[in-house]
């Protein structure tokens, strides 16, 4: 039997006087991929910040002790203000040169002289790969990834998710992903948490993602076409 790695019970987050998350409960097992699904402004990123202890909350967040977490935010726009090379970017996390080369290979960035390349010279897709590598560069057990395909075209998105899945399978990492893309949920999620301030549905995607649940989540009428395998 797999062990729980995270348990969240009656979580409430308020920012200013606004309730962002209300009475949220869920759990994540070791090696699981949980996708947090919801419209913009649903509180998905805030949930991640609460899980990481970056903002105040009430309720209970329990992580298995001595876990190593890694968080990759949607974007890092300010990184372009510094003339960092890829090697220097990994140095910020004190990742060795050998490890950097190894992890870059894992995400398919094997061009010669890649370490000396400036971050500002990378395309959005390449930078996203670097971010994944950066997130995985240390020996982590849990990866929290906020919209890993932000700003990448559809073909590129597929690549990023396949890459994430490959690395995750190889290393048995527990992954929490924020997305508003339903196809990602069907393809990669063990469990899905539909969030719009409150938890609107939670469980195995195929069992719980009905048209009704989705129209409640996004508002309006939504038809679901399941992939035939």
């Amino acid at each position: 039997m797999t062990e729980d790695i995270l348990r969240v019970k009656n979580l409430n987050v308020e920012l200013g006087r606004e309730k962002i998350i209300e009475n949220l409960s869920f759990k994540v097992e070791e090696g699981e991929t949980l996708v947090v699904l919801g419209p913009n402004g649903a509180g998905k990123t805030i949930l991640f910040k609460a899980l990481l202890g970056l903002i105040p909350y009430t309720g209970e967040i329990w992580w298995k002790p001595e876990l190593k977490l890694s968080y990759v935010p949607t974007r890092l726009p300010l990184v372009k203000e510094f003339p960092l090379t890829i090697e220097e970017f990994f140095n910020l996390k004190e990742v060795s040169r050998e490890r950097t080369i190894e992890i870059l290979k894992e995400v398919g960035m094997t061009q010669s002289n890649i370490l000396k390349k400036k971050i500002t010279e990378l395309s959005t897709g390449q930078f996203q790969r670097i971010l994944i590598a950066w997130g995985l560069s240390k020996d982590v057990q849990v990866l929290l990834f906020d919209e890993p395909t932000f700003g990448i075209d559809i073909g590129g998105q597929e690549n990023v998710y396949n890459l994430l899945e490959k690395v995750q399978k190889e290393r048995g990492i527990t992954t929490l992903l924020i997305s508003h893309d339903l196809s990602v949920v069907y393809k990669f999620a063990d469990n899905v948490l539909c969030l719009n301030k409150k938890s609107l549905c939670y469980g195995r995607p195929k069992e719980i993602l009905s048209s009704k649940a989705l129209s409640e989540l996004y508002g309006g009428e939504i038809k679901v076409y399941k992939h035939v395998k």
Binding site: K49, L52, L54, L69, S70, Y71, P73, L76, L78, V79, E81, F82, P83, L84, T85, E88, N91, L92, K93, K116, K118
Partner: protein
């Protein structure tokens, strides 16, 4: 005794270099201009130092710190943006200096007078600059990390508040030292221009930060040498040499 010209060169190298190195962080954090208002704020302190004949940096330091606290306090108490408050505070500082100082001393307060530096003033300023440089070198990557994303830095276990406080303290001290060579009016240029020049020329963060340091030191040396030959005040000459390097860097940009 070492002559005052040599002393001013030594002080210029240390303060100019450290200001340039610090500037590389400030420019990338979009704080390049903040040294300006902070420098203006030091004017009453410089005025007092000139009137009562003590080191101008010693006079300047409490005013920089007081100014920074005032801006922070007023920002909390009002809804006004930081830049408007900074304008209020530094204009007050400049006005006070004009009231306190006799006209003939004003030039020293505004654009500095490095050649007046005393032996011990030079030793202490150089030593403090060196210490600030070593501290900055130690926290440099932590500051970059928390500038890129404070959340990420916290997840990695970096105490962002502590490092930011140390960084701000370094800015205050370098501004106070900077007024010794370029006066209260030109401190922003002393930190910002070497970094801008270096950014144009560098391929990575190592070249950027140390490049800014070298350009800062070199500009100070050349500015002081130009003073020796032309008799114009050294402070503005140092800044003009910096501007000259910057213009060249625009054409050599990588």
């Amino acid at each position: 005794m070492i002559n005052s010209f040599l002393l001013s060169l030594i002080v210029g190298v240390f303060i100019g270099g450290t200001a340039g190195y610090l500037g590389s962080l400030m420019v990338s954090k979009k704080m390049g201009l903040i040294a300006g208002p902070l420098g203006h704020l030091t004017l009453p302190g410089i005025a007092l130092a000139i009137l009562y004949n003590f080191d101008v940096s010693l006079g300047a330091l409490p005013f920089v710190i007081l100014g920074a606290i005032l801006i922070w306090f007023l920002e909390m108490k009002t809804d006004l943006p930081e830049e408007s408050l900074t304008a209020v505070i530094f204009a007050t500082g400049v006005s006070l200096a004009f009231l306190i100082l006799p006209a003939k001393e004003l030039e020293t307060a505004l654009v500095g007078d490095i050649v007046k530096v005393s032996f011990w003033g030079a030793v202490i300023s150089s030593l403090v600059s060196l210490i600030i440089f070593l501290i900055l070198r130690k926290i440099y990557s932590k500051i970059i990390f928390s500038s890129i994303s404070e959340d990420l830095a916290k997840v990695e276990g970096i105490d962002t508040k502590k490092y930011n406080f140390i960084y701000l303290l370094c800015i205050a001290i370098i501004v106070a030292l900077g007024v010794k060579i370029v006066g209260g009016f030109l401190t922003a240029a002393l930190v910002a221009i070497p970094a801008c020049t270096s950014k144009n020329l560098s391929k990575n963060i190592f070249q950027y930060s140390y490049g800014a340091m070298i350009i800062g030191s070199l500009s100070a040396i050349l500015g002081i040498l130009l003073y020796k030959f032309s008799g114009y005040p050294a402070g503005p000459l140092i800044i003009l040499v910096n501007s000259f390097f910057f213009i060249i860097s625009v054409f050599l940009r990588r």
